[in-house]
């Protein structure tokens, strides 16, 4: 059996790649993809430790998060379409009609 810390490292790496994408990219679609990556990093943890602890709740939870991630993308792409219609761009920095 592979030691638990390697799973933690792998998922942390995937999570950080997603976070890096969010911090550096300006395309809203790539933003959504990076969020998917972060959600899947959590899934790696859940499945790996489900096997480690010998109970199934983590694996079943990861099925739920997959469905939720799809729902989030469905809503997200709809909103990005509305953004494109209004601003003719999917760059997250062009939408600046309001300022704080």
């Amino acid at each position: 059996m592979i030691a638990a810390k390697y799973y933690l490292l792998l998922s942390a790496a995937v999570f950080c790649i997603g976070l890096f994408g969010i911090l550096t990219r300006r395309n809203a679609l790539i933003f959504l993809m990076s969020i998917e990556l972060m959600l899947n990093a959590a899934n790696i943890n859940l499945v790996a430790f489900s096997a480690q602890h010998g109970n199934l709740s983590g694996q079943v939870f990861s099925l739920f998060t997959m469905a939720l991630a799809a729902a989030e993308v469905a809503v997200g792409i709809g909103i990005i379409l509305v953004l494109y219609r209004n601003f003719d761009d999917v760059d997250v920095t062009t939408a600046t009609t309001m300022r704080w």
Binding site: L63, A67, A70, L81
Partner: protein, 136 residues
């Protein structure tokens, strides 16, 4: 007992070495005849025009979206099917079947709503409508 990972490492080395050596040897042996026709995208085929980034009809998006959502619901049905037989024998048919029927019923309400509101109706472009009218 040698470490079994050595075999996997050796496999990896061989897998990289074979294509690399094939490319290297063929570049040493083959004659070089540079010609313009060889650099086109489709050699002895169509000459491509325009950019590869074209806009798709937005209606593909609706279909794809509905597919993604209803496709992923099978993920939630899957664990239920795995335990179905055992669960029926211990808990009885209604306790096992009714919740899943309720779940699918909710999905059916959603699908019926999407259908009635034209999410899957394929709207033709005005030009296309014109040609079909002329044909008829």
């Amino acid at each position: 007992m040698s470490n079994p990972w050595i075999a996997i490492g050796a496999l990896g080395v061989v897998a990289v070495a074979i294509p690399l050596s094939m490319m290297a040897i063929s570049s040493l042996l083959r004659p070089r005849v540079p010609e313009q026709g060889k650099t086109t995208t489709y050699e002895s085929g169509e000459v491509p025009t325009g950019t590869p980034r074209i806009r798709f009809n937005i209606q593909y998006y609706m279909v794809a979206l509905l597919f993604v959502i209803f496709d992923l619901e099978t993920v939630l049905i899957f664990p239920w099917t795995v335990i179905y037989r055992d669960a029926v024998s211990t808990a009885g048919l209604t306790t096992v079947l009714v919740p899943m029927l309720v779940f699918i019923g909710v999905l059916v309400v959603g699908l019926a709503w999407a259908w009635r509101n034209g999410a899957v109706r394929w709207v033709r472009t005005p030009r296309r409508e014109l040609t079909t009218k002329r044909e008829s």
